[in-house]
């Protein structure tokens, strides 16, 4: 267990590099070399201990109904009107509205036995994204925050952690630099092209002017923060000019292949996720909103499953075609499940007692169902999985030690997961 304090490291860095102009990035690189085996900053290619080099999180905002998606209960009073279809995986039927995913069940590990105490959206989203129950005394990093801290940034200037369709959760006490690069919609990010009336020569002239001003202020204050800002600016300019920025731009994607993802923002987000992972991005979140179906559950969930089925199956196919599926973990999850009981508005309400998540890709023992619920989908009857244990499983696949601790700003050690233990049966 390695525990270190960002500020202590900074102080160490300052004394070790007397006279040098310190940038936050220089410090971070030095530090990453220290604690992360073969982090992306050195000259050697990154050697990640885990099976996955990247993770794609498909986040189902609002809390998807488990009974209407991955854990159908045909014939039960709670089952609802949708039918279930068989899959090749023993013991797994899924909704008839996800035929493509049913067809590739051998590539999935479906967990039927998730359970938590958090039935409020904000608290549940925090729990799923960070692996910790919220507590106002510390802001925990989300999965992408840990990943960008531990696995590092790609060298080509792309961000380590990208969130498509936000809102996302940041890197908490690790600092905003490890937080997500948020795009409200898939496509080229805002402000990566020259601004109004500006071309390359003018942009460069402006940077030259700015540099003179910065040097003066940096010298007069002697403060590392100014150098930190200049480094961030250089990083931003590098991002503007990296050819790999085109990973965000789907206009160069093969139209037929793109069409298989479905004509939705979520589908385009999944298509972008593949391209980003291909270019070294470590964590991509893609959000599918609309699962908070207190009313009209069955029609709405049917539509959402249509979007999901096309996008997620195409995501797996495309990662596989590009030989990225063996190095990319896919996580499907949402806030919680929904009540087996159908309410008066043909809806289902929040239900954290029993619900489903899905893992696929690198490091996962696929073609299995893990855990089960009772006949009505009300209770977990076998192999209950807590959110910290799910988080530990994900961390392990990514080569992160779930028990490794970092000091929060108030000096409390915070582990990557909340005493989570990886579930062996899910690991390949």
């Amino acid at each position: 267990m390695s525990i270190y304090n960002r500020r202590q490291v900074l102080r160490f860095g300052a004394s070790a590099m007397v006279g040098a102009v310190l940038s936050r990035f220089a410090i971070r690189d030095a530090l990453a070399d220290d604690v992360v085996p073969g982090s992306g900053s050195g000259s050697a290619p990154p050697a990640i201990a885990g099976k996955a080099k990247a993770v794609i999180v498909l986040y189902m905002n609002g809390g998807p109904s488990h009974i209407d998606t991955w854990d159908p209960k045909p014939g039960a009073p709670t089952g609802g009107p949708h039918k279930a279809i068989k899959t090749r995986t023993t013991g797994l039927q899924i909704s008839e509205h996800m035929p493509k995913l049913a067809d590739m069940s051998d590539k999935l590990a479906v967990i039927h036995s998730m359970s938590s105490k958090e039935g409020n959206h904000q608290r549940a989203q925090y729990l799923l994204r960070t692996g910790y129950a919220p507590n106002p005394t510390v802001i925990h990093p989300s999965l992408g925050g840990w990943v960008s801290k531990k696995l590092g940034e790609p060298k080509n200037g792309l961000p380590a952690f990208v969130s498509l369709g936000g809102p996302s959760l940041g890197a908490g006490f690790l600092g905003v630099q490890y937080g997500p690069f948020v795009l409200p919609k898939p496509g080229l990010p805002a402000n990566v092209t020259y601004g109004v009336d500006t071309d390359k020569p003018r942009f460069e002239r402006r940077l030259g002017l700015l540099d003179t001003m910065e040097q003066r202020f940096s010298q007069s204050t002697g403060d590392a923060k100014v150098e930190g800002r200049r480094a961030l600016e250089r990083k931003s300019v590098a991002l503007m000019h990296t050819p790999d920025l085109s990973a965000f731009d789907l206009s160069t994607e093969d139209a037929t292949r793109l069409a298989t993802f479905g004509d939705t923002d979520f589908g385009r987000g999944c298509a972008t996720a593949v391209r980003l992972v291909e270019k070294g991005v470590r964590c991509v979140e893609v959000m599918l909103d609309g699962w908070d179906t207190h009313k009209d559950n069955f029609n709405r969930v049917k539509t959402l499953m249509g979007t999901l089925d096309a996008a997620m199956s195409a995501l797996i196919t495309e990662l596989s075609r590009k030989n990225l599926l063996d190095s990319t973990l896919i996580v499907w999850m949402g806030d919680f499940g929904r009540t087996p009981r159908i309410n008066g508005n043909d809806g289902r309400d929040h239900y954290p007692q029993a619900w489903s998540t899905v893992l696929a890709g690198a490091g996962i023992k696929k073609g299995q169902v893990y855990g089960e619920t009772d006949a009505n989908g009300e209770k977990v009857t076998k192999d209950l999985v807590t959110v910290p244990n799910l988080a530990a499983t994900i961390a392990t696949v990514l080569g992160m030690d779930p028990t490794e601790s970092f000091l929060s700003p108030v000096g409390r050690p915070i582990a990557i997961t909340d005493s989570g233990v990886a579930i062996k049966a899910l690991l390949a």
Binding site: Q122, G195, T198, D199, S220
Partner: protein, 621 residues
């Protein structure tokens, strides 16, 4: 036994009381008249008698100088007037001074000009707005919960409180024990647009009629009273009691049972829905009430059940179940001058806000294992604050009149430089990046982009501002409560300043913009340079800087460098489809035909752009 402490029936009759933001109490008589602050009519608060004169800045300085001496710290030289003025503006009113204000301050030769400026700024509407924004962010965060939280009304309530300089104990008491109605209803979207730092509308007060908008703070934590307890303890007392929610901690004083007992005080509040039927897209009208019994839903919730079983008790063991409701008892205990945490928490937070680092860092974590620096000064300020009526403006005046607040940010070399490497004792002024509110305000003031938009035909300027604020606050998620020695920013923020419309159009020489105004008023290149520095950096240019600008402009004029033309680095020709297709409110300023063809003007646009991207502009220093 259930007893409704505040009913809808009493609300109408007491609307005047509620307008004042006062919680309506079951047995206490209505306050005598409008205009009386809440605290003066509170039976619970001990009468405050000032036994000694307020702490002077000489005494504050002497206490800090003793610390410097002990640690071998040599303070940096005093900051010049222009730097001090900019600091004062950013910290008290959340923006930079106008050029004429900088000039007038420089020309003023009276000895007490700094003290008078402090007084003037504290009396301004902008002070109330800035602190409304600050506390709205601290208390409500970025969450919306727009279906039950009326953010507009809450902000109006805060704004009014700071405009009246409501005593801090009264303000906290009202927040912690609030009962009453949250909103008059209306579309949720209106609430969402209120989230960022838009100026409070002038007519906001009338919106508060019949409401106690302070209840919105509690409603933010609807169904999660453990977080209401944790946040209240952390923010108002600086005690992070919720650390003990999950299990006892080996090295810390607070046990799980302490947290449960404290949080238990918040389990008696209950929302009553005032609307019938479905309220799609509307903010629900809710009346928040206190009951003797715990809300049954919370007794069943596995997270809150153990809290429901605990007896409501304050952190020092005071029984909160006697008397007039647990939240009122808690509020009484919390704001009592005898409470060891209450005054310290706010003094530490305010000192941290102005000086860049609190006595205790982070500002909301007071505990024996995280000791304070300069403890004698910390104690003296806290005691003084409690003894002199919990008056925030007095506290602010004391802080900004200190020698520490007036020091230069310049790092010293040589002897003594290593004695306080983290600058924990404020031997030089801490560099603090501008927050979203300050940055947007400063950008608009420096560029006059709102005037340019008006000239370009934008009708609804408040809406423009609100849209700019929303797109801006999205960029920031800064934890400004902790002092970090490295700069924390995101690529998205940097890109917005490098290539975004606010700096792009803001530096353009178009009708109404700052640059156009300056070019019309000044003829020589040197004078234009001076004026631009004054506008953006709130100081005149140095001779070297002036010469550098003149050189750049003359080179551009004779060198014939083009102004614009090619598109982005990524594509040649057409601009690719951008991810964020939300219409930018500033797009009206984007007309290509407005591009200047004059090389001199274009060169000054470059200077303006560089100033707006400079660290000197982007930090409070």
């Amino acid at each position: 036994m259930r007893r409704v402490i505040c009913t809808a029936g009493t609300l109408g009759a007491l609307s005047v009381v509620v307008l004042l933001g006062a919680a309506c109490g079951g047995g206490s008589p209505p306050p005598p008249k409008v205009g009386v602050t809440h605290s003066t009519m509170d039976a619970g608060a001990s009468p405050v008698v000032a036994t000694s004169p307020p702490l002077t800045h000489e005494r504050i300085d002497a206490l800090l100088e003793e610390e410097w001496k002990k640690k071998g710290v040599t303070p940096s030289r005093p900051a010049d007037d222009a730097t001090f003025l900019r600091r004062l503006y950013l910290d008290i009113v959340g923006t930079i001074p106008e050029p004429r204000e900088v000039a007038a301050f420089a020309a003023d030769t009276t000895a007490d000009k700094r003290a008078r400026k402090v007084k003037e700024l504290l009396a301004s509407q902008a002070y109330a707005t800035h602190f409304m924004n600050y506390w709205d962010d601290v208390l409500m965060g970025r969450e919306a919960r727009a279906n039950i939280v009326d953010r507009n009304a809450f902000r109006a309530w805060l704004g009014k409180s700071f405009r009246e300089n409501k005593r801090w104990d009264a303000l906290v008491r009202e927040l912690v024990s609030a009962t009453g109605q949250n909103t008059h209803g209306g579309p949720k979207s209106r609430q969402l647009s209120a989230m960022p730092m838009v100026q409070a509308p002038e007519d906001a007060d009338t919106e508060l009629l019949g409401l106690n908008a302070a209840v919105n703070y509690s409603l933010r934590f609807q169904d999660a009273p453990q977080d209401l307890a944790g946040t209240s303890s952390r923010v108002f007392l600086g005690v992070q009691i919720q650390c003990a929610q999950c299990h006892d901690h080996k090295t810390e004083a607070w046990k799980q049972e302490d947290f449960r007992s404290f949080a238990s005080a918040f389990l008696h509040l209950r929302p009553k829905n005032l609307d019938d039927g479905k309220m799609n897209g509307e903010v629900r009208k809710i009346e928040l009430m206190d009951f003797r019994a715990v809300f049954p839903r919370l007794e069943k919730n596995p997270e809150t059940a153990p809290i429901a079983r605990a007896k409501a008790t304050a952190l020092d063991g005071t029984d909160l179940e006697k008397g007039d409701g647990t939240r009122r008892a808690l509020a009484d205990w919390m704001v009592s001058p005898k409470n060891p945490w209450f005054a310290k928490a706010i003094v530490n937070r305010m000192w941290g806000h102005f000086l860049g680092r609190g006595f205790v860092d982070p500002v909301d974590d007071l505990r024996p294992s995280n000791p304070a620096v300069a403890e004698p000064l910390f104690d003296a300020l806290a005691t003084d604050f409690a003894q002199h009526g919990f008056d925030l403006q007095t506290l602010i005046t004391q802080i900004v009149s200190s020698r520490a607040y007036a020091l230069s940010a310049q790092k010293k070399e040589g002897a003594g430089a290593a004695s306080d490497p983290d600058n924990q004792l404020w031997g030089r002024f801490h560099l603090v990046p501008l927050g979203p509110e300050e940055l947007l305000n400063a950008l608009v003031r420096a560029t006059n982009v709102d005037e340019a938009a008006r000239r370009a035909g934008v009708q609804n300027l408040p809406e423009l501002r609100s849209q700019m604020a929303r797109s801006f606050s999205f960029l920031f998620d800064v934890d400004e409560e902790a002092d970090t020695s490295d700069y924390e920013g995101t690529v998205t923020q940097a890109l917005t300043l490098l290539n975004g419309n606010l700096t792009g159009y803001g530096s353009r020489a178009i009708p109404g913009s700052a640059l156009t105004t300056v070019l019309a008023a000044k003829s020589s290149d040197a004078d234009v340079a001076d004026e631009l520095y004054l506008r953006v950096l709130s100081r005149p240019a140095t001779p070297e800087e002036r010469a550098a600008v003149v050189d750049y402009v003359q080179h551009a004029t004779t060198g014939g460098a083009g102004t614009a033309g090619q598109a982005s680095p990524l594509t040649s020709g057409k601009k690719p489809k951008r991810a964020d297709k939300r219409p930018d409110p500033l797009n009206r300023l984007g007309n290509k035909s407005r591009s200047t063809q004059d090389p001199r003007t274009a060169a000054f646009e470059d200077v303006m752009w560089a100033l707006l991207n400079s660290s000197e502009f982007l930090f409070n220093h």
